[in-house]
Symmetry: C2
Subunit: 352 residues, 2 copies
DNA sequence: TATTTTAACGCAAACGATTGCACAAATTCC
DNA sequence: GGAATTTGTGCAATCGTTTGCGTTAAAATA
C-alpha cells in the first residue's frame, strides 16, 4: 500500500513539490511554514510513505549503491573482505550489491553487466581474472572502479592487493631455512593475478636459494578444497614426494589436510605445510597452520578510500597499491636434516 | 557515455517504442522488420547502449532484486547460506542485495528500510531477532518475506530454520551418554530465536536425563569468538568446572579452543566439546570437532522456494519449516567414568 | 503611499524506460 | 475489385521524484 508524494499532496492539499521538500529536508532552502510541515509529516506517517529509490535515482542520477563481485563468497578471505567493505561503505552512506561469480568468468561478466544496468555509483571487483574485456566496458561507462586481490597489471585501473610475491617468498624462504628443498606448490586458478604472482614468489624463492625448480611439484588448478585434496594425493604418490607443501589458498590447505589424514601422513612429522591466507581458524587446526596473513581490514579500508577518491576526481592517475603480507609461524613445519637429495643445491650461487 | 533509447531513436530515425521493442525482445509480439531490427541493434551496439534498470524498475514495478540481511556475513554459516541463496536466486533471474547487520538491531532496521525503498521484490531475513516492529512494516508493505535461521514464532511470517532444539538434544544427549553430567552451555545472543531454542534443547536434554540444571553453567552473550574465549576461561575457574562444553555456534567454539590451549587444557582429555554449526574446517581442528550440522544448501533452496510461492500467492497460509539437524561425531568428546559428583543424578526419573 | 523584500508555495520539465492503442500501407480473401 | 487482415511503426501516458523558475500575498522599506 505504498503511497507516493502525489497521494500525500492530494490528501493535504499541497503540491507535490512542497511535499517533497518537507519530506526530504530541502525545506530549509525553500522556507515552508511550520504548520504546513507538521501537517505533511503527519499525513506521510499515517500513510506509511516511503521514498521510491528508483524514481529518485533516476532523477538525481545517483543510487548510493556500490557493486561488489567476488569469486567465492564462502571463502573466509572474501567474506571477511566483504564484511569490512560493507562496514566501511555504510559509514559513507552506501549500500553494497554483492555478486558471487563462483570463479566463473561468464557469471562475472553478467554480474558486471547487471551492476552497470543498475547504475551503481561504483564498483569493487575481485575478478576471476583470466580476461578483461568486460572491465574495459566499466571504464567506458566511466564508473569508478577499484580492483581488489585480483588485479590486472596490464590494465589502467586502480587496484589494491597484498604483495603476493613477497608473501610467497616469505613462506617458501621459511621452508628453505628449515631445511626443505623438495617443496611443492599447489596453486589456485591459473591465469589469475593472485595465482601467478604467488607462483612467481615461489619460483623466485627457490631460485634465490639455488634450488632447481621441479615442474612436477607445481600442481593444482583452482582455489577450492577438492583441488588441494586431489593434488596432495598425487604428490604423495610421487617416487620422491615433497617434504613440504605450500598451498596458494586456505581452502586448498584444508584439502591437503584431509588427504594427509587419509594417508596417515602426519604434519609436520612426515610433511610440512604452509599456506597463503590466514583464516580465523588456522591456529586451531591440527596442527596449527603456519600461514601468510593478508591485512584484510586495511585492504577494505583502502579500497573504499581509493574508490572515494576516484569518485571525486575521475581523471587522476591510477593507483596500484601493494600491502605487506605477514608470515605467521605456528607448528605445521618441521626442521629437517639436509639429506642427500636428487636435487642439486647450488648454494654457492647465493653468495655470488 | 551511457546512451538512451531516445539517442538510438534519433540516430536511426525510428521511434523510441520501436527501439525499445527490438532491444528487449518484445519484437515478436509487434513484428518489426528484420531490416529495422538489424539497423537498430547495430547502432545500439555502437553506442554501447545499456538499459537503465532504474527507469525500467520504476515503470514495470519490478526490480528482480531480493534483499538479504544477515547478522554476520563473515560467519561461515551465513556466508554459506548467502552463497547458496545467491546461486539459487540467480537461476531464477534475481540478484541479491546483501546487508550485514553486525548483530545490531538498529543496523538491521535501517537495512530493511533501505531495501524497501529500493523496491526489492522480496526479502530474506536472518534477523538479529530481539525485536520485530520493523518486520511488521515489511508485512504492511506487502512485500514477500521469508525469515531464515532466526525466526519469530509469534509472528505470522514464513520462516525456515533447522530444528534447533532437536540439534541441541542430539548434542547434549550424546554427551550424557558418554557419561557427562556437568555440561556447560555457552550461548549466543540472548533473546534471539536461534539461541533460545538451542538453550531449550540443552535444558530438555538435561531434564530428560534427570540431571539438575546448574545456572552457573549457562553463560555467554553473543555468537562471536571472544565470547567463547572469555566464558571458557571463567568456566575453567569454577570450583568444580564442567567436564564438557556445548557451544551455541562455531565461532564460540573457536574461542573455547583458544582458551583451552592457553590454559593447557587438552580436548577431549580434560574437557569435552561439542558445538552447534558444522563449519567446513571442523574436521580439521585439533581435535576434530564433533558438531551439529545444519543442512545449509537445503535451507537456502527451500527459502527461495517459499519466497517464490509467496510471490505468486501472497495470501496463502504461512509456513514454518524446520529442517533436520545432524550430529557429526568426531573426536572432541571423551567417555568419562561415572564419578561421584555433587550433582544428583535422578536416573530413576527417566523410567517414570 | 509606492516600492522593494521576503515568505510560502505551485508549475512543469526532466530522468529513461514500457505498452495499450491507433493507424497507414501492404496482403490476402472472397 | 472491395473488404478484411496482416505487417510495421508511432503517439502519448505513466512510473515517482527532484528542482529551477514563477507567482502570489504579506511585510518591510523608502
Amino acid at each position: 500500500m505504498s503511497s507516493t508524494l502525489q497521494d500525500i499532496a492530494e490528501k493535504t492539499g499541497f503540491s507535490v513539490s512542497t511535499v517533497s521538500r518537507v519530506l526530504h529536508d530541502t525545506s530549509k532552502k525553500y522556507t515552508i511554514s511550520k504548520k504546513t510541515q507538521d501537517k505533511i509529516k503527519q499525513v506521510a506517517k499515517e500513510c506509511g510513505y516511503r521514498v521510491n529509490a528508483l524514481a529518485r535515482g533516476l532523477r538525481v542520477q545517483k543510487t548510493n549503491e556500490i557493486g561488489v563481485v567476488v569469486p567465492d563468497i564462502s571463502n573466509p578471505f572474501f567474506s571477511a573482505v566483504i564484511k569490512s567493505l560493507a562496514g566501511e561503505l555504510r559509514k559513507k552512506g552506501y549500500s553494497i550489491i554483492v555478486y558471487d561469480s563462483d570463479e566463473d568468468i561468464a557469471i562475472e561478466r553478467s554480474s558486471v553487466k547487471s551492476l552497470l544496468e543498475k547504475r551503481v555509483d561504483g564498483l569493487i571487483l575481485a575478478s576471476v581474472g583470466q580476461d578483461f574485456s568486460h572491465i574495459q566496458k566499466i571504464r567506458d561507462a566511466e564508473i569508478p572502479l577499484v580492483m581488489v586481490d585480483r588485479c590486472f597489471e596490464e590494465l589502467d585501473v586502480d587496484s589494491i592487493s597484498v604483495d603476493n610475491e613477497k608473501g610467497s617468498l616469505l613462506a617458501v624462504n621459511y621452508l628453505i631455512n628449515e631445511g626443505h628443498t623438495r617443496i611443492a606448490f599447489i596453486q589456485g586458478l591459473p591465469g589469475t593475478y593472485a595465482n601467478e604472482t604467488r607462483l612467481q614468489g615461489y619460483k623466485s624463492a627457490l631460485q634465490n636459494a639455488g634450488i632447481e625448480i621441479d615442474e612436477n611439484l607445481i600442481v593444482g588448478d583452482d582455489f577450492r578444497e577438492l583441488n588441494g585434496y586431489l593434488k596432495t594425493k598425487l604428490l604423495l604418490k610421487l617416487a620422491t614426494p615433497p617434504t613440504a607443501i605450500f598451498t596458494a589458498g586456505d581452502l586448498i590447505a584444508l584439502g591437503t589436510l584431509e588427504a594427509c589424514r587419509e594417508n596417515n601422513i602426519t604434519i609436520p612429522g612426515d610433511l610440512s605445510l604452509v599456506t597463503f591466507d590466514d583464516p580465523i581458524f588456522a591456529s586451531y587446526l591440527s596442527p596449527a597452520l603456519s600461514a601468510v596473513e593478508q591485512p584484510i581490514t586495511k585492504m577494505a579500508e583502502m579500497a573504499v578510500a581509493i574508490l572515494s577518491r576516484r569518485m571525486v576526481s575521475p581523471f587522476d592517475e591510477q593507483m596500484k597499491v601493494l600491502l605487506e603480507p605477514k608470515l605467521n609461524i605456528r607448528s605445521s613445519v618441521a626442521r629437517i636434516q639436509q639429506q642427500p637429495s636428487p636435487v642439486k643445491i647450488k648454494k654457492s650461487l647465493k653468495k655470488v
